[in-house]
C-alpha cells in the first residue's frame, strides 16, 4: 500500500509539472493554432536562470527560502521575456502564412535556444542547489512524500487556480477568450489581438518557468536538453485533455503523470517515455479531440 501511495504521489507531482507546461501549449494553440515547439525550451531557460541565480546567491552567502523565492521571481521574469521575444521574432511575422511555416520556425527556434544554452553554459548536467528545506511536520510521512513534492503540489494548485480566475474574471482574460473564439470578430470589437497573443505567450512562459524552478529543486539536476522531453510530454498532456482546453490541460497532465508513474513502478522504468508516446498515439487515434475537448468540424 505504501508503495502504491508513493507512486501515486510521485505521479501526481510529475503530473502537476506536466500540467503547468501543458497549459502554455494549450493556451497558445487555442488562440493561434500553433504548436509552440519552443515552449519546452522556455521551461528549460526558466530552470537555468533559477540555477544561475541561486548558485550565485549561495556563493555570496545567502541561504534558504529567500534564495528560492528570489530565484523563482527572476526565472519567471526571464522566461516571460524570452517567451515574448520568441513570439515577436519567430511567430508574429508569420501570421497568415501556411500552417507549416510557423511550425518549422518553432522547431528552428527550439534548436536555436537549446544550443544557445549549450554554448553559453555547458553540456553537462548541473546540480541544482538544495533550496527546499525539509519540513519537520512531514517527518511521519517522509518515506512516501518529500517536502519538495508537497511544495510542488501546493504551488501548482495555487498557480492553476490563479490562472482560472485570471481567465474567467479579468479584462485580459475575457479578451483572451474572445480571441480564441473568433480572432477577426475580436479585432472588430476593439480588442488588440496582437497584445492578447503576446500576453498569452507571457502567461504560458511564466507557468513554464514555475515548472522549471520546481523541477530543478525536485530532481536536483538540469541540463540544456531537459526541455525537449518535458515539452513533448506536456504536449501529450495537452492533447490528452483536449488541446485548446485549459482545464483539459491540467487534467491531461495529472492523468499522464499518474499513468507514467504507475507504468514505471509496476512494469518497467526503461520504457517510461515509450509509454507517454504510446498514450499520445492512442489518444490521437481513438479520440483526437481529447478527454474534455469537443470535436470540431473543419470549416471550409
Amino acid at each position: 500500500m505504501d508503495y502504491f501511495l508513493e507512486l501515486f504521489l510521485s505521479g501526481l507531482t510529475r503530473g502537476s509539472i506536466y500540467a503547468l507546461i501543458a497549459l502554455g501549449y494549450t493556451m497558445v494553440y487555442g488562440i493561434i493554432q500553433l504548436i509552440n515547439f519552443a515552449h519546452g525550451e522556455i521551461y528549460m531557460i526558466g530552470a537555468f536562470v533559477a540555477l544561475v541565480v541561486s548558485g550565485v546567491l549561495t556563493i555570496y552567502g545567502f541561504s534558504g527560502v529567500s534564495i528560492l523565492i528570489l530565484a523563482a521571481l527572476i526565472a519567471i521574469i526571464y522566461s516571460a521575456a524570452y517567451g515574448y521575444t520568441l513570439e515577436k521574432i519567430a511567430y508574429r511575422p508569420l501570421r497568415g502564412a501556411p500552417r507549416l511555416s510557423p511550425l518549422i520556425s518553432a522547431i528552428g527556434m527550439s534548436l536555436f535556444l537549446q544550443n544557445y544554452v549549450l554554448l553559453a553554459q555547458t553540456a553537462d548536467f548541473l546540480p541544482f542547489p538544495e533550496l527546499v528545506p525539509e519540513f519537520e511536520f512531514m517527518e511521519p510521512i517522509a518515506h512516501i512524500m518529500g517536502s519538495a513534492e508537497l511544495i510542488i503540489l501546493i504551488t501548482s494548485a495555487i498557480t492553476m487556480i490563479g490562472l482560472t480566475l485570471l481567465i474567467k474574471y479579468t479584462r485580459i482574460g475575457k479578451a483572451m477568450r474572445a480571441t480564441q473564439q473568433d480572432m477577426v470578430m475580436a479585432r472588430l470589437t476593439g480588442i488588440n489581438v496582437d497584445r492578447v497573443i503576446s500576453v498569452t505567450f507571457i502567461i504560458g512562459s511564466v507557468l513554464a518557468a514555475i515548472a522549471g524552478v520546481l523541477v530543478g529543486s525536485y530532481i536536483g539536476q538540469i541540463n540544456y536538453f531537459i526541455g525537449f522531453m518535458a515539452g513533448v510530454k506536456a504536449f501529450t498532456a495537452a492533447v490528452l485533455g483536449g488541446i485548446g482546453n485549459i482545464p483539459g490541460a491540467a487534467l491531461g497532465g495529472l492523468v499522464l503523470g499518474l499513468a507514467e508513474a504507475m507504468a514505471a513502478g509496476y512494469i518497467s522504468s526503461a520504457y517510461e517515455d515509450v509509454f507517454a508516446f504510446g498514450v499520445l498515439v492512442l489518444i490521437l487515434i481513438l479520440r483526437p479531440s481529447g478527454l474534455l475537448g469537443k470535436a470540431v468540424k473543419q470549416k471550409v
Binding site: 524570452y82 548541473l126 507517454a276 498515439v281 483526437p288
Partner: protein, 412 residues
C-alpha cells in the same frame, strides 16, 4: 530624423538582448565547485551583435513588407525576370556543361583525394539521399515528418541484424532494408492519416524517439546501447577489398543512389501521384473534393520517403560497420529537415545543394562545428521568415497556352 529613430530602436533592441542574455551569457556558475565566473566581455559582444542584427532585421522586414505589397499590386501572374538560378536550371545551354562538369568531378573525386575525404563525401551523399527522401514527404506532400531518422534506423538495423545473425549479403539486404522502412512507414502512417499536419509532426517525433528507446533497451534483438558491430561492407561479385577500396566502392554506390533518387523523384513529381501530393499539400479539402484518394496518396508519400531512408540506412550501416542507437536521435531528423527547408521544399536541386553545403561546411570549417545546430535552428527560422520557398524555389510545371497553336487550330 528617420535615421535617428531607426538607430534608437536598434539601440533599444541591443539593450533588450543584453538584458535577455545576461544570466546565461555573462554569468557562469559551477554549482559543483561553488565558483562563479563573470564574463563581461560577452555582454559587449551581445550588445554589438544585437545592434547590427536588429538593423539588418529591420531592413529585411521592411523589404519583405514592400515585396508583399508589390506582389499584391502586380497580381500573381506578372512576368518577372528569371533570376540567375532559374536561368541556370531552365536553359539547356547553360546547365548541360555545368552538369557535365559536376558529374566528371564526382567521378574523379576518389582518385585524386585521400580516403578520409572520400568518407566525408560518402556521408554527405547519404544526407543528400535522406534529404531527397524527406523531400517527398515534406516537400511534395506537405506531411511534416519529425521522426524520419526512425526509418533510417530501421534500414540500418535490418541490415545489421540480417547480416550478423543470418549472414545475408549486402545486395539482398539493400532492397529488404528499403522495403522494411516502407512497411514501417505504412504501419505508422495508417493510424495517423486522419490527423492534421501539426499533430502528425508530434506523433512522428514521438515515433522517432520510441524507436531509439526500443533500440536502446531491447537487448535481445538490437543489442542495446552497445550496438551491433562487425557489419559486412558491401561486396562486389566476391572481390576482396581493403577498407579504402571498399570506401571508394561505397562512394560510387552512393553516387548511383543519388542519381537514381533524383531520377525517381523527378519523374514522380510530374506523375499523377506527384501532382496529387502537391494538390494535397496546397489544400486538402479541395483536393479530396476533386476525387483524390487521400489515404492512398498520403500513405504513398509516407512509404516512399521511408523507403529511401531504409535504403540509405543499409548503406550507412555497411559503411560504418558499427551502429548503435546514438546514431539515430532526433538531431539527425532535425538536420535533414533543415536541409529540405533551406534547399526549398519540393525542389530537387535545392535540396541536393543544401544537403552538400550543410554537411561539408562544418567538415571543412572545424571552428564552425560547435555552432552547427545553432546555425541550423536559425536557418530554419530565417528561411521561413524571408524565403519560405527555399534557396532554389521549386518551379511548378506550367502549361502555357501558345498563341501560335491556337491560331493554327482556328485556321484548320
Amino acid at each position: 530624423m528617420a535615421m535617428i529613430s531607426y538607430l534608437k530602436s536598434c539601440l533599444i533592441a541591443a539593450i533588450w538582448f543584453v538584458f535577455l542574455t545576461f544570466p546565461l551569457m555573462v554569468v557562469k556558475v559551477n554549482t559543483l565547485k561553488n565558483t562563479v565566473e563573470w564574463r563581461w566581455m560577452n555582454m559587449l559582444w551581445v550588445a554589438i551583435g544585437a545592434f547590427i542584427l536588429s538593423a539588418v532585421w529591420r531592413w529585411a522586414m521592411e523589404r519583405r513588407a514592400r515585396g508583399a505589397r508589390q506582389k499584391e499590386q502586380e497580381g500573381s501572374d506578372s512576368d518577372k525576370k528569371p533570376s540567375l538560378g532559374e536561368r541556370l536550371l531552365e536553359d539547356p545551354k547553360l546547365y548541360r556543361p555545368l552538369l557535365g562538369l559536376v558529374v566528371a568531378l564526382a567521378l574523379l573525386m576518389p582518385w585524386v583525394s585521400e580516403m578520409y575525404q572520400v568518407t566525408i563525401w560518402v556521408f554527405a551523399l547519404i544526407y543528400v539521399v535522406l534529404g531527397l527522401g524527406l523531400n517527398i514527404t515534406v516537400g511534395l506532400a506537405g506531411l511534416l515528418d519529425l521522426g524520419y531518422v526512425a526509418f533510417f534506423g530501421v534500414g540500418a538495423y535490418t541490415y545489421a541484424i540480417l547480416n550478423t545473425r543470418f549472414g545475408l549479403d549486402f545486395w539482398i539486404c539493400l532492397p529488404i532494408g528499403g522495403l522494411t522502412g516502407a512497411l514501417v512507414g505504412v504501419l505508422l502512417g495508417f493510424p495517423i492519416l486522419r490527423l492534421r499536419g501539426d499533430y502528425l509532426a508530434i506523433v512522428t517525433l514521438g515515433f522517432g524517439s520510441i524507436a531509439k528507446i526500443v533500440y536502446e533497451n531491447w537487448e535481445g534483438v538490437f543489442n542495446g546501447a552497445r550496438g551491433i558491430e562487425k557489419i559486412a561492407r558491401p561486396g562486389f561479385f566476391g572481390m576482396e577489398m581493403d577498407i579504402s577500396a571498399a570506401t571508394t566502392f561505397t562512394y560510387y554506390l552512393m553516387l548511383v543512389m543519388v542519381v537514381f533518387t533524383i531520377f525517381v523523384t523527378n519523374r514522380l513529381k510530374d506523375s499523377r501521384i506527384g501532382r496529387a501530393w502537391m494538390a494535397l499539400r496546397e489544400d486538402e479539402i479541395a483536393c479530396v473534393a476533386m476525387g483524390v484518394d487521400m489515404a492512398k496518396t498520403k500513405l504513398g508519400a509516407y512509404a516512399l520517403g521511408a523507403f529511401w531512408a531504409g535504403l540509405v540506412g543499409v548503406i550507412f550501416a555497411s559503411q560504418t560497420t558499427y551502429i548503435n542507437p546514438a546514431s539515430f536521435d532526433f538531431m539527425l531528423s532535425a538536420i535533414v529537415l533543415s536541409m529540405v527547408v533551406l534547399g526549398g521544399m519540393g525542389s530537387i536541386v535545392g535540396v541536393v545543394i543544401a544537403a552538400l553545403v550543410l554537411n561539408l561546411l562544418p567538415e571543412y570549417l572545424r571552428a564552425f562545428e560547435d555552432y552547427r545546430m545553432l546555425v541550423f535552428g536559425a536557418v530554419m527560422v530565417l528561411m521561413m521568415l524571408f524565403r519560405p520557398q527555399g534557396l532554389v524555389a521549386n518551379v511548378r510545371k506550367t502549361y502555357t497556352h501558345s498563341k501560335k497553336v491556337h491560331a493554327e487550330e482556328a485556321n484548320g
